[in-house]
């Protein structure tokens, strides 16, 4: 069953351009030129129940705009959007009770209040049934390990602590659809991993449909089987992450550890050397030749201790797609 259905979605923002400097400001005081910026240009996709889809694209691609339309915050300029069978911008109560959203750069918690008070406030917003709510809350507090700072005003929490509380706030009402806009932004690697692990577990347990944006490819790699890539407001890839890799990852990476220093030149003949550190180096090799090159390296008389073959980082693949290669 399709939980999210987007068809020919277009969103343009009205913008007023102002020439720089004082004179430009004076002119714009009397007359402002209206212009339109198309942030999303005719995109279509569907998402099935229980899927975790990564929504990728460079800055300004239109990801946040799309999520805002899916959650009913913004009206589309044209095209149709359907989430859980509702039209989001009708903002029906029954619809809002079934989805949750986290925007990494925008807090929904009241900063002057402790997290726990916030949760109780949210409970009233959602008119959540007493027993069920308490059970969910307890579970989430446990899973995200936020017990120690539940009673500290949110403004005094660290970014990572706050983000965990934000996640809880978005999940208190057991949503069927979860929209996550950069939930790991600004977090350290450990905190990122914690959030990631949580999202994975949560999806496995509750079968929640999740649409997630992130600029950290680890998030995408670990969570999403399917990715939608968008650039300049248009979808340029929609499919399995694995297919993306096999289609676009033209190179593999051979990681070498040696017992003694190897000169850069002697490695250079196998492929493009990267991250050269004397006894450690990475060599980029075309995919189809990786096996034979690896064999060559091992059988050479270089003091190689260890050798690993890895996929190209997804960020490189995605960058290659963004750049239209």
């Amino acid at each position: 069953m399709d939980i999210i259905r987007v068809k020919n979605l277009v969103k343009s923002y009205e913008i007023y351009r102002k020439e720089p400097g004082l004179w430009g400001s004076v002119k714009s005081f009397f007359y402002r030129k209206k212009d339109f910026a198309e942030a999303v240009k005719d995109i279509s996709f569907t998402i099935k129940e229980g899927e975790v889809v990564g929504f990728l694209g460079p800055n300004g691609a239109g990801k946040t705009t799309t999520l805002k339309i899916l959650s009913g915050i913004l009206y589309p300029t044209s095209g149709s959007v359907e989430v859980l069978g509702f039209t989001p911008y009708d903002r029906k109560k029954e619809f809002k009770k079934q989805f949750g959203i986290v925007m990494g750069q925008k807090d929904q918690l009241v900063r002057m209040l402790p997290a726990m008070d916030n949760f109780l406030l949210f409970k009233e917003f959602y008119e959540a049934p007493e027993g069920e709510f308490d059970k969910t809350l307890e579970e989430l507090i446990e899973l995200l390990d936020v017990k120690e700072f539940l009673n500290i005003p949110v403004r005094k929490l660290s970014l990572g602590q706050r983000m965990r509380c934000e996640l809880i706030a978005a999940l208190l009402h057991n949503p069927k659809v979860l929209l996550l806009d950069e939930p790991t932004i600004g977090l350290d690697v450990v905190a990122q991993k914690n959030i990631r692990d949580f999202i994975r577990k949560y999806n496995q347990k509750k079968k929640t449909t999740i649409l997630l944006t992130s600029h950290y490819m680890d998030d995408i790699k670990e969570l999403c089987e399917r990715v939608i890539i968008i650039n300049f407001g248009k979808i340029i890839y929609d499919g399995k992450l694995a297919d993306l890799i096999s289609r676009y990852a033209t190179e593999k990476i051979i990681k070498i550890t040696a017992t003694d220093t190897i000169s850069k030149e002697s490695l250079g003949k196998f492929g493009r050397v990267e991250d050269y550190q004397g006894i450690r180096a990475l060599i980029r090799v075309p995919r189809d030749r990786v096996k034979s090159v690896a064999a060559e390296i091992i059988s050479s008389n270089l003091p190689v201790d260890d050798i690993f073959i890895e996929d190209m980082p997804i960020s490189d693949i995605v960058r290659a797609i963004f750049e239209g290669r």
Partner: protein, 269 residues
């Protein structure tokens, strides 16, 4: 019903809790308020002592009563809603409410109740203290019919204050610079409420106009009722005008809200 009450009480008390962390400004603002009233009384005393004994039918004592009772009413119904609504729109905070099952208007009204509770209580107490200080000068009205009517009038005035406050804040949907307009509108409101001087000093056409505007019912009208310068019948007529305004403003709020949301850009990622 119970559910709704609980929801309201949780929202109000969280807003109240939040305001508690601003105790200092909550208290210092009240000093300014009391000072303003005292300055007004000083001013009128000076005017009366230099000229004739009555200004348009007000004796000095009546004028002092007008200032004191009027200000007491004004602080009791005042809110700061415009700036709250405008900020939510400008900073894109409104987005977070649009995805919640509770209507924003309902939330923000309840929130405002909790937010102003402390400052309103303190204002009312400090104004009552000033009144006690001038007790031997002021006109005393203990007729419960008048008092009840004044109460009813103030409740309606508060509802109108919230509705107008919401509309003023909603200007932020259309322009990023609400402050100038907001301040000007506040001045106009104050003028037509009789906050600067009794409206009966105005030319007759402005007096008539102000009677059909909603503003005088938070200051001038209740003060006149208290002074028995208008009778109960005229007071009831005022209430009727207020009821019409509540209905009218509710409709306008609805329309403006939906038009505004079409314009809303949800800034910030």
């Amino acid at each position: 019903m119970f559910r709704q009450l609980k929801q309201a009480s949780v929202i109000i008390s969280s807003a109240f809790q939040r305001m508690l962390s601003y105790q200092f400004s909550v208290i210092t603002y009240r000093i300014g308020e009391v000072a303003e009233v005292l300055v007004l009384i000083l001013m009128w005393s000076a005017i009366y002592s230099s000229g004739n004994g009555a200004v348009k039918g007000f004796t000095l004592n009546e004028m002092i009563t007008y200032v004191l009772v009027g200000n007491l009413c004004a602080v009791a119904v005042r809110s700061f809603l415009p700036s709250v609504v405008a900020r939510d729109i400008e900073e894109g905070k409104l987005s977070m409410f649009l995805v919640k099952p509770i209507p924003y208007i309902k939330y923000i009204f309840l929130n405002e109740l909790g937010r102003i509770f402390l400052s309103t209580v303190l204002s009312v107490i400090s104004q009552l203290c000033v009144i006690l200080f001038f007790l031997d000068r002021i006109f005393i009205n203990t007729d419960w019919r008048y008092i009840c009517l004044i109460f009813l009038m103030l409740i309606l005035a508060f509802i109108i204050e919230l509705l107008i406050g919401f509309l003023i804040g909603a200007i932020a949907f259309w322009t990023e610079e609400v402050n100038g307009l907001q301040t000007t509108l506040e001045r106009i409101k104050r003028f037509f409420s009789g906050g600067y001087f009794p409206l009966s000093l105005l030319p007759i056409y402005l007096i008539t106009a102000s009677k059909y505007l909603p503003f005088q019912y938070s200051f001038f009208a209740p003060a006149q009722l208290y002074l028995k310068k208008v009778d109960l019948g005229q007071g009831l007529e005022g209430i009727l005008i207020q009821v019409v305004w509540v209905i009218l403003l509710s409709l306008i709020v609805r329309v403006v809200w939906h038009m505004g949301l079409r314009k809303y850009e949800a800034v910030g990622s």
